[in-house]
Subunit: 721 residues, 2 copies
């Protein structure tokens, strides 16, 4: 331990000189900068807290002054605020850092992404994330990381549900629930060869390079195994209110939002038995944990104070309700990790909460695509698929007038499935999910859609990270939408200039969980009865099982903002007769729906079969395992038409349902259709895509594909959307 303060200054100087001389002799004149020379972050490490906190005295109580008290910049007490000592050892440039996070459910999955973004923004090292997840979080995060393709980030998943039994016997009152206790079992759950790991709560945000935190491992004594920041509230001092009886802790205790774990030493020390014994004993007199794992960690540490290495408080600035964190930092520049450890999160009251909130929002809204930047200087395994993608992109010809189209087709969009809490529908044999895709400018359709379709929906939303947050607030503000747990929202993050309409449809389709899907568009409102009617029709017709068919839902349109939605086919026909409704695209593009044969539909009492014809693009109900949409069609044009061609080529019958209908509401033309109309290149590129589509069709279906050739060669009218 280095001496502090003026009275000891002379001794300190002497010691430093000695150390420097030693360093010089050892490293040949590099004077302690050897590591950095091997690649450490230039100019970054700087001041180090030196003796992090006073060692725990034998009586087990921390001197309170040491960690939190005193005004900033004051005398010898404030060593916790990253003051100086010799430069700390830093992890070598390309050292792999391990991070473990417990994450369960939809909301924590969103939180953890913000944490990861902040970590990636500042990191200079390859990272290995060890994610202990329930099934929901795993489903979300596996897809997210797979599509994110961040270089030099490895992700491993561990099944939280398998670990539950190890902690479920502990009564716990904390809002994080059972998963809040799971950090206790990490030494046994993580791979035996893993010796060091940083453990983080999902509600922390980095304001600095995580390697600086990792470097603190080097300060552990030979027996220390747990690095922790002191708790920044008076909770563990007790007496916050009458009969407030916290778990035992050293002084203010420690906060477990950020932990440095020496897994090897904990295993060796018999951690599993140790914490269980302590917890069992305390639970004889205490009814439950209040702060989940943190109570137990503190109780263990109180018993075995030698295990803990106190960390500088800036590595876990706790914004709880009655936080004393302000004593920890004197300026914005001191902050390293911010911990939103109040259930109120961003709504917490704090003198600098505006600052913290802006900081958090920075990463909440940060375009995660930008974090795909290469960690150059550190060789690492590219993410799965990244190399092929790089090659395919490299083969594109930038001079090709359709370069933008080809680039967009190859783009791998980050996908965050079930962005909001979602209850999968109970398994029902004829159930049908409405599938559609949208961007921000169609959010206002959602409420009406929910009123018209009481069944499950799977919706892909094309948004930026910032828009995803607006979307979240939009849903929260709508009682209608907030109440619908059977609507799954899948965020596909924007990248590139063209709208990847079919990629979006495929995401929504792949996430539908019922045996049937209704492939709709967001501007349509289905008949109120459609959901029930479709399920009855599916059963009646034996769709999928006895009959390979696509059920056609006839499409209409209104040109009015407000109109009285028909409650029956009779009402619909009446509106049609007075010109308040039209068949869909009656004025601009009747070919798109002509084969539905509206005249026959008027009179039909039973489903009737129709034949495919060029440009037919009806809205259909099909089994979930139907062909996917062709992702080559990006932007405007031929995206649905190609899908119907594929269905016909695969010999799906087209059956029009006599009582089904859906109505298109007016909206402004999309940007893509505007570009299509104004740009001959755009139209030429679409034709090129169609040609290539037909070549593939011929490859798969042989001579049968000839049937579609005339349709594909015919230039598309520029007048539709």
């Amino acid at each position: 331990m280095l001496p502090r303060g003026r009275p000891r200054a002379l001794g300190a100087a002497a010691l430093l000189l000695l150390l420097l001389l030693l360093g010089f002799l050892l490293f040949g004149g590099d004077l302690g900068c050897k590591r950095r020379k091997r690649g450490g972050r230039a100019g970054a490490p700087g001041c180090f807290p030196g003796p992090l906190m006073p060692r725990v005295p034998p009586d087990g109580r921390l001197r309170r002054a040491a960690a939190l008290d005193g005004d900033p910049g004051a005398g010898p007490g404030d060593h916790n605020r990253s003051d100086c000592g010799p430069p700390p050892p830093r992890p070598s440039k390309c050292e792999l850092l391990h991070v473990a996070i417990v994450c369960a459910g939809h909301n924590s999955s969103r939180d953890v992404i913000t944490l990861v973004k902040s970590m990636l923004f500042y990191r200079k090292n390859p990272l290995h994330l060890h994610l202990v997840t329930d099934a929901v979080a795993r489903n979300i995060l596996e897809m997210l990381f797979h599509t994110w393709m961040v270089p030099a980030v490895r992700v491993s998943f561990y099944n939280a549900d398998e670990l539950k039994s190890q902690v479920s016997w502990i009564p716990n009152k904390h809002y994080s629930g059972l998963y809040g206790l799971m950090k206790l079992v990490l030494p046994s759950a993580l791979p035996a060869e893993l010796a060091h790991v940083i453990v983080l709560d999902t509600d922390v945000t980095f304001a600095s390079d995580i390697s600086e935190l990792w470097a603190l491992f080097a300060h552990f004594s030979d027996t220390q195994a747990i690095g922790l920041v002191e708790n920044q509230s008076d909770w563990y001092l007790g007496n916050l209110w009458k009969n407030h009886r916290p778990w035992p802790a050293l002084g203010r205790g420690f906060n477990t939002g950020v932990i440095l774990l020496r897994l090897d030493r904990l295993r060796q020390a018999g951690w599993e038995q140790m914490w269980r014994l302590t917890a069992r004993r305390e639970l004889l007199t205490l009814p439950a944990t209040s702060l989940a794992d943190q109570d137990i960690f503190n109780a263990v540490i109180k018993e075995h104070p030698g295990l803990v290495q106190p960390l500088p408080c800036v590595w876990n600035v706790q914004l709880s309700d009655h936080t004393l964190a302000e004593r920890c930092y004197s300026a914005a520049s001191d902050l390293k990790v911010i911990h939103w450890n109040s259930p109120k999160k961003l709504q917490v009251k704090n003198k600098h909460v505006e600052f913290f909130r802006n900081f958090y929002l920075t990463f909440l809204e940060y375009d995660g695509n930008l974090l795909r930047r290469e960690l150059f200087g550190c060789p690492s395994q590219p993410p799965p698929g990244a190399e092929q993608l790089q090659q395919a992109l490299a083969q594109l010809d930038e001079e090709d007038p359709c370069f933008e189209f080809r680039q967009q087709q190859l783009t791998v969009h980050r996908v965050h499935v079930t962005f909001l809490p979602h209850e999968p529908p109970p398994p029902r044999p004829h159930d049908v999910t409405l599938v559609a895709q949208l961007s921000m400018d169609r959010l206002q359709m959602l409420e009406a859609l929910c009123r018209h379709w009481p069944g499950p929906m799977s919706l892909a939303l094309y948004m930026t990270d910032a828009e995803a947050q607006q979307f979240l607030r939009f849903i929260e503000a709508s009682p209608v939408l907030a109440a619908r747990q059977d609507v799954a929202y899948h965020v596909v993050y924007r990248e590139g200039p063209l709208y990847p309409v079919n990629q979006l449809r495929n995401v929504a389709l792949a996430q539908a969980l019922t045996p049937y899907v209704f492939l709709s568009d967001i501007d349509f409102l289905p008949a109120y009865s459609l959901y029930d009617y479709l399920r009855a029709s599916i059963e009646q017709l034996g769709l999928g099982s006895q009959r390979k068919a696509a059920l056609v839902v006839p499409a209409f349109e209104t040109l009015r903002y407000h109109f009285s939605f028909p409650h029956s086919k009779v009402e619909l026909l009446a509106l049609l007769d007075v010109g308040a409704l039209y068949t869909f695209r009656y004025h601009e593009w009747p070919r798109g729906h002509a084969p539905t044969d509206y005249a026959r539909w008027r009179e039909a009492q039973a489903p009737y079969r129709v034949q495919w014809a060029a440009d037919y693009e009806p809205y259909v109900v099909v089994p979930r395992d139907c062909p996917r949409y062709d992702p080559r069609f990006v932007g405007f044009g031929w995206n649905k038409v190609a899908h119907i061609v594929e269905l016909d080529a695969q010999e799906y019958e087209l059956l029009v349902l006599p009582e089904a209908f859906t109505i298109h509401l007016p909206h402004a033309p999309s940007l893509d259709i505007s570009r299509f109309r104004s740009s001959p290149t755009y139209r030429d590129c679409l034709q090129a895509l169609k040609d290539e589509f037909h070549q593939d069709l011929s490859r798969h279906h042989g001579a049968a594909a000839l049937k579609y050739l005339p349709a594909l060669q015919q230039p598309q009218s520029p007048a539709r959307d």
Copy 2:
């Protein structure tokens, strides 16, 4: 000068020990960390380049190996890559840092904002920006910084046009033009009391805290006055092509994208005469500067090598076309400042360009509002208006159901006027500017609008920083829009949940430069002849000068996506008769335009006067000095109606023009109208706003305001937009 490399290592160590001891004696044992203790960035400073670059040898040529050559991490030659020495002195926590930037025109003004964002993101110190601007940039940046309200940032403007004569005699071929030379005159242009300044090109991006750069001033010897990074290309070595004859320079020369200037010493050394003499002499044999100020700086330095302090190359990583920058950094973590010094900018070819591009995009798209975060720990003068704003916000009652409305009304939006190059219209006495506002979802209206309105337009766009970039690409991709220099686009940055419709209108209105304005909405297309017809009518009626009037342009609507726009009133009436057109909101809200008296308009041959009535909201032409829109109306409802009330209260005549018309195109209902319809609170709040509006009206107009009371008390139908 400190020794370098192994052979001199022993001496270095000894010297270091001495320095440390000295530091200790001076600072009472804090050993070089005193400054940090007083508030420096915790853990940040770290490695320092020590002896930055070898001193220039007497023959005036730099050893090339020293600055750029050699593989990363190699032996003693690579001192330029932030290797180690003793920790550098850092500016004290709240020291004010001065930055000077020359900025002219619309495009550079956009660039400089990205630079400023990156600087603010990492800064820990108060900043004083000294902006040398032309009239265009000043207009843009003054408004921007005024509305940005970033704490601890002061901005001073200097008139570049007044400095022009000092450099205009120098023939210059560089793409930056005359303004590229202006850095030469900073010592005389900046205030005499300013001694230190960092000078930056607009095309640099910070990847680190600017205080680390500022700290390098401390390494200047007593005579050095200019800190520069070596040029990272072979340009100044000459012979890049036949007859390539660069200006004289030491070795590779220096790049002037980032300069540390000791203004005091330059003034003392007779800088003004010094550079002029050198430039005049070189121009006897060289036809012009190729790289603007940089050529002259280099020629002066070649003559007076003692002036220059070479800086570590990471402080100006130059991404020019044939850059050798890769030799400078070995890893992403080394980068401090990135310089896009190719005219190709982001399109430049470079091994790590993807990395650099993502880094740049981070700040290009970064939400500048988030940089309003307080630099707490450093007391500073709040930006003008900030205190009153804080007080007003603090007085709001969070429990008030209309809290969101009141907060939105108080929000000061960042405003970037003339976001794109813009030519003000030539002064014409009866000219009229179309004024409107929009958000991203209406961009597709712009092309059609340009075809319908050949005159000047002033449009406010409500967007995020990221959307503003999409908008830029949208304009660039459209030949129609890119050609129109008379359309001024003013970006108002999004903040808050409600659409600040009237604030947007006021921004567009304030920026209109003609004597008259046509107050339109973005969903309307005016008659092709309207621009000419309005100017003729204004002249004929003596609008503004003889007659205080608002000219009403009758509004119609189509419910079809495509229709043949009428070329005359006759054609319009024919479409009206067949039901292809309606008078505006005929179905949903006829009251809004009923007073226009469409029946009379059919027959009218001359302008006719109409009377105000409740809910009247026509589109009007008025003198530019007309009343502003009431900014309290945010979101949906009463925003235009209130403006017409105000016009009527101020006794504007309402004159309907017999040949004028404008037609509304269909679009989906806005989010705000959806909220209005579904939320009783929203409607109640609107009523509260109306009441308050009426109170203000009574205050201003006395008993005359009684006339409007019934209209204000009548609840608004939830059925309109």
